[in-house]
C-alpha cells in the first residue's frame, strides 16, 4: 500500500504541482534548476499567440468530432458483435487491431497511406471513381484535409475500444429484462435508449471518460502525421506544448500550455458525469 502511494506521490503528484510551478517560471530544458518565477507572463504571452488559439480550437474540435464518430461506429459495431454469429472471434481479433497495435507504429503506417505520390487511399478512391483521374488530394499538406486526416486516424484507433466497452456492458444486461421490454412493445431503438443505456450507464461513463481524456491529450497522431504543420495549422494543445517545451526548450511556456488542458479536462469530466447521472435516475 504505502509504496504505491509513495510512488504515485513522487512521480504523479509531485510533477503535477511542479507543472503548475513551471508554468509560472522561465525554466528551460538545457539549464538545470527550475528557473525564475515570472507569474502569469507565460499565460499572457500565450493569449497573444495565434498558434495557441488555433491549437485550442483544434483540440476541442478534434475531441468532439472524434467522440461523435467513435460513438457512431462503436455502437453499430457493438450490435454486430453482440449477434455472436459463427466466426465473431476472428472478426473481433481483426477489428481490435487498431486499438492493440501501438499508436506510434500505426500512425506512421497512416502517414505512408497519406503519402503525396503513392497514397493507397488515393488509389482506392480512384479505383472507386470517387476521385477524378489525376486528382491527387494532399491529405497532410492542406490544413482542412490534414485536420480531417488526423481525426480519421484517431477515430480509426478508438472505435474498437468504444465497441468493446459497449459490448461488455450489453452482455451484462440480463436477457430477461430486454425480453420483458420487447413484450411491453418496445422497439429496438427504444430498448437500447430506455433499457440498455440506463442500465450500463456507469460502464459507459468510465469508458467515455477514459477515451475523452486520452483523445483530448493525445499528441502522437499529430506529431507523426503533420508535426503541427502546414504552417502550425494542425497543432493540438499537447503537440504545441511539446514543440514549445521540448523542441524549443522553453519548458515553462510549454508547461503553461499543458496545464491549460487541465481545466478543459475538468469541464469534460463534469459534463460527462452530469449527463450520465441524469440518465441514471
Amino acid at each position: 500500500m504505502a509504496p504505491a502511494i509513495l510512488y504515485i506521490g513522487a512521480l504523479v503528484g509531485y510533477p503535477f504541482f511542479l507543472a503548475i510551478y513551471l508554468s509560472m517560471s522561465n525554466a528551460d530544458v538545457s539549464t538545470s534548476g527550475l528557473g525564475r518565477f515570472v507569474g502569469v507572463d507565460n499565460f499572457l504571452a500565450l493569449f497573444e499567440s495565434s498558434v495557441f488559439f488555433t491549437a485550442l480550437r483544434n483540440t476541442l474540435m478534434f475531441t468532439a468530432a472524434s467522440a461523435v464518430l467513435k460513438a457512431l461506429l462503436g455502437t453499430t459495431l457493438a450490435f454486430l458483435l453482440a449477434e455472436n454469429l459463427r466466426g465473431t472471434r476472428i472478426f473481433r481479433f481483426l477489428i481490435v487491431l487498431p486499438w492493440t497495435v501501438p499508436i506510434a507504429l500505426s500512425a506512421i503506417a497512416w502517414k505512408w497511406m497519406f503519402d503525396t505520390q503513392y497514397s493507397i487511399i488515393n488509389w482506392l478512391l480512384h479505383a472507386a471513381h470517387i476521385l477524378k483521374p489525376f486528382e491527387m488530394p494532399n491529405w497532410l499538406g492542406e490544413p482542412t484535409l490534414a485536420i480531417m486526416s488526423i481525426i480519421a486516424v484517431n477515430v480509426w484507433r478508438g472505435f474498437p475500444f468504444s465497441a468493446i466497452i459497449l459490448l461488455a456492458g450489453m452482455t451484462a444486461v440480463p436477457q430477461e429484462i430486454v425480453d420483458a421490454a420487447t413484450v411491453d412493445g418496445a422497439g429496438p431503438v427504444t430498448r437500447f435508449r430506455k433499457v440498455i443505456v440506463p442500465m450500463i450507464a456507469p460502464i459507459l461513463f468510465v469508458g467515455s471518460l477514459y477515451d475523452l481524456v486520452f483523445t483530448l491529450t493525445d499528441m502522437t497522431v499529430v506529431y507523426l502525421l503533420t508535426l503541427g504543420g502546414p504552417a502550425n495549422s494542425t497543432h493540438v494543445l499537447s503537440s504545441y506544448a511539446f514543440l514549445v517545451g521540448v523542441q524549443s526548450g522553453a519548458l515553462g511556456r510549454g508547461a503553461a500550455i499543458a496545464i491549460l488542458l487541465f481545466p478543459i479536462l475538468l469541464v469534460v469530466v463534469f459534463f460527462v458525469l452530469r449527463s450520465l447521472r441524469r440518465r441514471d435516475i
Partner: protein
C-alpha cells in the same frame, strides 16, 4: 447462431428472415474488418515489396507485382539500423517496468482489497484516477525530475516514468482480482495456523497467478503504447526503444525508408497486438470494473 439452430418447425419466412439478418451482420463485420485491417495489410505488402514495384504508379498496389517478394527491407532494418539494439532496449525496459509494477501493485492491490480501513474505497478510486492524469501534463515536469536524477537520455528514465501509468492501472486490476478470492480461504489457512503474512504466499498468491500474469502483460503492453515519454526523455540512438527508434531513425531528412519503416512497425507491433487482444477482456473489465459494483 441464429442460422444454424433453424429447426424444421420454424416457418420458411422466419428462416429467410434469419438468413437475411445473418448476411447483413456478416456484411457489416466485413466492412469493419477491412476498415481496421487495411493499414495493417498495407504494412505487410510494403514490407515485402521491392522498391522498384513500390514506387511504380502503374502497378496494382494491393498485391505483389512483376518483381515478386523481397527481404531487402528486413535486411536493411536488421543490418543497417539500430533495430536489434532497440529490440534489446525494449525488452530491458519492459522487464524493468514489469518488475517495478509488480513489486508495487501486488501488495497495494491486496491491501486495497482486504484491509478494512476508513476511506479504502475512495483511495481505490483515487488511485485509478491518477491513471487518467495524462502524460501530456506530466512529461514536461518529469524532464526536470529525470535530469535531476541524471537519467536524461538513458533507458532507466523510461523504467522510472512508465510505472506512473502502469502502477495505478495494475493496482486497480490486482485489487479486483484479490476481491474475487473468497476471504474464507484465507481465514481457513489462518485457522490452520498460518499468520496473515504466512497465508499470502501459501494461499493467496498461487490463486491469483492468473491475475499477476495479466498485470505483467499489461505493464508490458501499456509501456509499448507510449510515445511521448520515449520521445522526450531519450534521444541517442543506442538508448531508444523500438517504437521510437522505428519512427525516428528510418526517416532521414525528407527520405522515408517506407519498406523498412513498415517492416519495423510490423515486427514491433504485431506481437504486442496479439498479446493485448488476448488479454483485452481483462483490460475492459479493469476499465469498467469499478463501475459494476
Amino acid at each position: 447462431m441464429a442460422v444454424t439452430v433453424a429447426t424444421p418447425w420454424v416457418s420458411r419466412a422466419t428462416r429467410a428472415r434469419h438468413i437475411r439478418k445473418a448476411v447483413l451482420v456478416y456484411a457489416g463485420l466485413t466492412f469493419y474488418a477491412v476498415l481496421a485491417g487495411l493499414p495493417i495489410y498495407w504494412m505487410v505488402i510494403t514490407t515485402f515489396k521491392p522498391d522498384r514495384d513500390l514506387y511504380n504508379l502503374q502497378n496494382f498496389p494491393l498485391w505483389f507485382n512483376q518483381n515478386g517478394v523481397t527481404l531487402d527491407h528486413l535486411a536493411l532494418l536488421f543490418n543497417k539500423t539500430g533495430f536489434n539494439t532497440w529490440l534489446k532496449n525494449t525488452v530491458w525496459v519492459a522487464l524493468g517496468v514489469v518488475a517495478v509494477t509488480l513489486a508495487v501493485s501486488v501488495p497495494a492491490g491486496y491491501a486495497l482489497a482486504r484491509l478494512r480501513f476508513r476511506g479504502a474505497e475512495s483511495l481505490t478510486i483515487g488511485i485509478f484516477l491518477t491513471y487518467l492524469v495524462p502524460t501530456t501534463l506530466l512529461f514536461l515536469p518529469l524532464v526536470k525530475v529525470i535530469s535531476f536524477l541524471g537519467l536524461f537520455d538513458r533507458l532507466q528514465s523510461l523504467i522510472l516514468a512508465y510505472p506512473t501509468f502502469t502502477i495505478p492501472f495494475c493496482t486497480w486490476l490486482m485489487a479486483g482480482f484479490f476481491k474475487t478470492i473468497p476471504i474464507e480461504i484465507e481465514e481457513a489457512a489462518m485457522v490452520d495456523g498460518c499468520s496473515r503474512v504466512g497465508a499470502i504466499p501459501r494461499v493467496v498468491l498461487p490463486l491469483s497467478l492468473a491475475g499477476i500474469l495479466t498485470v505483467a502483460i499489461f505493464a508490458f503492453t501499456l509501456s509499448m503504447q507510449d510515445f511521448v515519454y520515449a520521445l522526450t526523455f531519450v534521444s541517442s540512438s543506442d538508448q531508444k526503444v523500438v517504437t521510437i527508434g522505428v519512427v525516428t531513425e528510418l526517416i532521414r531528412g525528407d527520405v522515408f525508408f517506407w519498406g523498412s519503416l513498415m517492416a519495423g512497425a510490423l515486427i514491433a507491433g504485431i506481437p504486442v497486438a496479439i498479446l493485448y487482444s488476448f488479454f483485452l477482456d481483462y483490460f475492459v473489465r479493469g476499465i469498467t470494473g469499478g463501475a459494476v459494483k
